[in-house]
């Protein structure tokens, strides 16, 4: 049953070049479809689930709801779904950064509400330009995050407590700001509204797909050529093309479906844009490496000369900034900010989406794409249950069950990684 490929025993003085790098115990992946399949099977057994459970879950959700209501997979419903998940999705991206540090931010909902309040009050009550209002809201988010980060990093108060105080305190500021107005309606034609009302014509969507694939291929091939030039193990052209194909599948499929309705929505593009940007920052930059290092072992990071406090403060700053952007999106979708904006299920949904998407609650493990995958899962459940005209109570129960399954998978895969010696962090 276990057909693992062992490297022939060639670790002798005869081949010092190879011997220093290879180990007879190392299982290598043969560069062929069956080899990849074996590697995949090995990873799953070892607790390296990757995005697989989420993708399977997403397909299952799609099938179940489609069989119960054939409008679920219609282009219109899917297009609305992508706009609906953008706001909470942006908050999730911020939450992921904090989870990578091994901390938690409970204030994202309140901060998004506060940002919504700031946007509406400035734009409507004081009549400032909507762009200025958006900028001010994002600035307030950044400031709030820096305060959280400072209290957590410099004063040593647990992040849980700091952001719990934030959860309550910023909601208070939000209510105070709104004053006697329970709700402030914003213009339905200004830039704020346009954030979620803009759709791009089909050709833009296709151009984006081509551009993404081209950039992906060029960057991957450049790196692989450099690796082969440096004498390092590298992927074959076939494997690179295969991976590009895997990337093209959801891109082409997604744009094709969205184009059948109104085109690619701007809100979704902003969300995906932030996810991709964050992913690049986390994987390709020194800053991202430091975030993972602090999440893995803050003591090791400190001894390596990393300014741990600065990393912590900046991550909380980013998290609250993204939460504030999420708040602006909430206003945009409702054409209004109310005292309850951001005070409902947003916080729980944002954290749940991050965990469902595969970011570990235990720190140091996860990636930005969790926001997209987790957001899609929760968005699909919400949208499906609304189509079936189920009560909110049912939605909460099902969301809770999905969250629990995700956390259980996280905990089990963590145990799997420990027993398979792949890091229990």
């Amino acid at each position: 049953m276990s057909q693992q490929t062992h490297v022939p025993n060639s670790v002798d003085g005869a081949q010092p070049q190879d011997g220093a790098r290879r180990d007879p115990r190392l299982l290598t992946t043969v560069a062929s479809p069956s080899g990849w399949l074996q590697a995949l099977r090995r990873n799953i057994r070892g607790g390296e689930l990757g995005p697989l459970p989420v993708i399977v879950g997403l397909l299952l959700i799609g099938l179940v709801f489609q069989s119960m209501n054939d409008r679920f997979l219609s282009p219109q419903n899917l297009s609305n779904l992508t706009v609906q998940i953008a706001a909470v999705g942006l908050m999730t991206t911020g939450v992921i950064m904090v989870l990578l540090l091994g901390e938690i931010d409970l204030s994202v909902g309140s901060v998004s509400g506060l940002a919504a309040g700031v946007v509406a009050v400035l734009a409507v009550r004081y009549g400032t330009s909507e762009w200025v209002a958006i900028g001010a809201a994002v600035g307030v988010g950044l400031l709030v995050g820096l305060i959280h980060g400072f209290i957590f990093a410099k004063m040593g108060v647990p992040a849980f407590v700091v952001t719990l105080a934030g959860l309550l305190g910023w909601q208070g500021v939000h209510l105070n700001l709104m004053g006697s107005d329970g709700s402030i309606n914003t213009s339905s034609t200004g830039p704020i509204a346009m954030l979620t009302q803009t759709y791009f014509v089909p050709v833009v969507g296709w151009a984006l797909v081509l551009l993404t694939l081209a950039l992906y291929l060029v960057s991957v091939l450049t790196v692989e050529r450099k690796r082969s030039g440096a004498g390092l193990p590298h992927k074959s052209l076939v494997e690179v093309l295969f991976r590009a194909g895997l990337l093209a599948l959801p891109l082409v499929g997604g744009v094709w479906i969205l184009n059948q309705y109104k085109g690619v929505p701007l809100a979704f593009l902003i969300f995906v844009g932030f996810v991709v940007m964050l992913d690049l920052v986390l994987r390709k930059t020194r800053y991202g490496r430091m975030v993972y290092a602090v999440g893995g072992s803050s003591e090791a990071a400190r001894r390596a000369g990393i300014n741990v406090d600065l990393i912590r403060i900046s991550v909380f700053g980013i998290a609250s900034t993204l939460a504030a952007l999420g708040g602006v999106m909430l206003v945009s979708r409702n054409f209004a900010a109310s005292v309850s904006t951001g005070g409902g299920a947003e916080l729980m949904m944002a954290i749940a989406a991050a965990v469902i998407g595969g970011t570990s609650l235990f720190g140091g493990r996860g990636n930005a794409y969790s926001a997209l995958l987790g957001g899609l899962v929760l968005g699909a459940i919400t949208s499906g249950l609304l189509l079936l005209q189920m009560d909110t109570s049912v939605r909460f129960m099902i969301t809770a069950a999905v969250l629990l399954i995700a956390v259980i998978l996280d905990a089990i895969s963590r145990r799997g990684r420990k027993t398979h010696a792949r890091g229990g962090a």
Partner: protein
Amino acid sequence: MSTPVLELSGISKTFGAVKALSEVDFHVDPGEVVALLGDNGAGKSTLVKVIAGAHPADSGGVISWDGDPVTIGAPSDAQRLGIATIYQDLALCDNLDIVGNLFLGNERLHFPGTLDEVEMERRAVELLDSLSVSIPSLRVPVASLSGGQRQIIAIARSLLGQPRVVMLDEPTAALGVAQTAQVLDLIERLRDQGLGVVLISHNMADVRAVADRAVVLRLGRTAGDFPIAETSYEEIVAAITGAADNPVTRRSTRTGSSATATKDKE
């Protein structure tokens, strides 16, 4: 003889009412492995921390580097001089891969802020090859490595700063037989590359296997400086435990240490 790369003389360190080190002399030559021995509380860790800059010494003593007096007031001073310290808890990030850990805090970049993974991996391969270390893959999380491999990665990381003195705190404490041998091999390779190695260990077998000299501390004082090849196991243990605290052994220790002292002056 060459001048010692690092020499401490008359070093004292007081913590409140406790004199952890008093008038300790210590030196390391290039290409020499010096074992630092002593019972718990003898002052080994304090001496290491003084050298590493974690606890600056009290005034009065002299630290010389290549014969020139220097002050080591902070860990960064020690690093700048070329002293690398590998503490027992290794300080590796389990979730990062080997390359990530080797270059942590010292990443190679191509343009502002972007990691040059290819260059880092190439240098990592080069470095581990030069140490004849065999590691399954450089892209697995460090958590999946064995204790010996983790120790080797921690040592290899300290070598990236091109130190001239490496201090290892109990490098073989929790290792199996084969892994201990790997680490000892590595220590010998460091010596062959001309580095001064300070080895803190309770394991006399390891000390006898790789060390050229053994400096014994007892209750914060130098209790002996023995050339390993000419000293018996019992003599060293006697110095560690203080069984040598009688006129007869004290005399033999004195003649032994005066022998090494004259050798240094040659």
